[in-house]
Symmetry: C2
Subunit: 288 residues, 2 copies
């Protein structure tokens, strides 16, 4: 099999690593706008060869893992360049705009819209890790628009990678992912900002930070180049969830000012049920 990975960073690079391990005969081609990343991917043996769109006709499978704003520009061109028997999968954190841009594309049936819920706060080829996808959920949208045989090819690989598949429509995906992923990033970035602003002249203070702080600000290390276009594409949903979050924080602040500690206690007790909810997510048992 010839696998082309377009965007050879954490997501694409981890995929390349696993495919190489699972299917040693696969030839992996890398395409990236960043020449330094491409060289790095080659020296790390994530890819066998550097490539470009002129060779895409050789692909059996194309994995596209680039920021979602570039994705909507490039996916139509990528589909133009592949042959009738290739399957193109993406890894975008938004799905509605991507699916709508490709609606009516002559090779729409060659595309499978995916969102593997996996990643770390790091980026670039050196961030690629083996087993990133193991036990994780892959959300697939508009599966019925992909040719049956090509769905099968992609699903067989996802199965080998150890992923759980969930099917969802693109709008529902974007709405719910705003809550369980996009909002977490904003909450984390703004927490980091608040503390850095306050303590900028007192770096020693971070000596006081424990694993709790580290855990809540972990996502504030994420790539702005990746996340800005996600917030842009999912603006409507993100604004809604952010508004609700701010309201909840204000309600908490109000209780605190009013010395309503019974209310605060109740609020925390009822939110404690997140324990059981998270215990129900097998994927989260894998990553530390």
């Amino acid at each position: 099999m010839n696998l082309f990975v377009i965007g050879i960073g954490l997501i694409g690079g981890s995929m390349a690593k696993d495919v190489k391990r699972l299917r040693p005969n696969t030839k992996i081609f890398g395409i990236d706008a960043n020449e330094a990343h491409l060289e790095e991917a080659l020296s790390l043996s994530l890819i066998d060869e550097k490539s470009d769109y002129s060779e895409l006709h050789k692909a059996d499978m194309v994995m596209v893992s680039i920021p979602v704003d570039v994705m909507v520009q490039e996916l139509p061109k990528i589909l133009d360049a592949v042959n009738e028997d290739a399957v193109v999968i993406d890894a975008g954190s938004t799905k509605a705009l991507i699916c709508s841009v490709l609606e009516g594309h002559p090779k729409r049936r060659n595309f499978l819209a995916c969102h593997p819920i996996s990643g770390t706060e790091f980026s670039g080829p050196s961030a690629a890790i083996e087993g990133l996808y193991y036990g994780k959920t892959n959300i697939i949208c508009e599966v019925e628009k992909t040719a049956f045989k090509l769905q099968e090819r992609a699903l067989e690989l996802f199965r080998e990678l150890g992923m759980r598949i969930r099917y969802m429509n693109p709008k529902a995906h974007d709405k719910h992912i705003a809550y369980v992923s996009h909002l977490s990033h904003i909450s984390s970035f703004m927490l980091g900002k608040t503390v850095i602003e306050k303590e900028k002249n007192e770096r020693d203070i971070f000596d006081m930070a424990g694993s709790g702080f580290e855990s809540t600000v972990r996502l504030a290390k994420s790539s702005p180049a990746m996340w800005t276009p996600i917030f842009r594409q999912n603006k409507e949903n993100v604004v809604e969830t952010l508004g609700e979050y701010i309201q909840n924080l204000q309600a908490f602040e109000k209780m605190l000012i009013a010395d309503d500690y019974e209310g605060i206690y109740k609020e925390m007790t009822s939110t404690n049920k997140i324990k059981e909810i998270l215990n129900g997510i097998p994927l989260n048992k894998k990553r530390v």
Copy 2:
């Protein structure tokens, strides 16, 4: 040595475990308002004997790890009960009220005000783990008010446990800890609340949650009985930090509504420096 642990949950129980390992000849007495916890601690061999205040005169060292509201009531009584040569240490997440309550106590010199920055989101004797304190920071307040020989006894144990010591005054402790610990808990609890409220009828949605969400809501599993009195005692500082956090979130929301993606990008880029800051915290390299 006779060590009395008052409040034999995650914090006290982990201390008991390590002391037992490091100093096998130590006899460990447990005192807890919760009889079931005491029985559990005994069956888990965290303690050698159940005890009560009437035996406190036998103590060489007393570790008090109970909610901070109970702490301010109990510490004076505990100091009353110990002999002149015992050192009493606490593990409270607030320090100003505790130090002020003990100001002028006839046995103030037997008390060392501590805040070990360590813990997990779990609680109770079964949550006790070995090595919890290894590599962690222990903030000590008003060290000069403790008898020299008793400081030494406590510090020697902290050294054996592998802790880093930082000295600070109680008011500065409470101000800064509001940023690097207390605010994280509120941000996490309210994030959990926002998502649970929205998705309460769609539990499947949590299948979409990845390690990023899990990481940011981890602290929302924390004990309300422990955290309500912390917010109460540190109300003034917590209200200030929470207000700043809400303002930052509102500024982000405003940029998003105004399609100011350049502003959002810059905001995230400047907050990315949390990477270097966290890398500077050796303690956080230990825990996963």
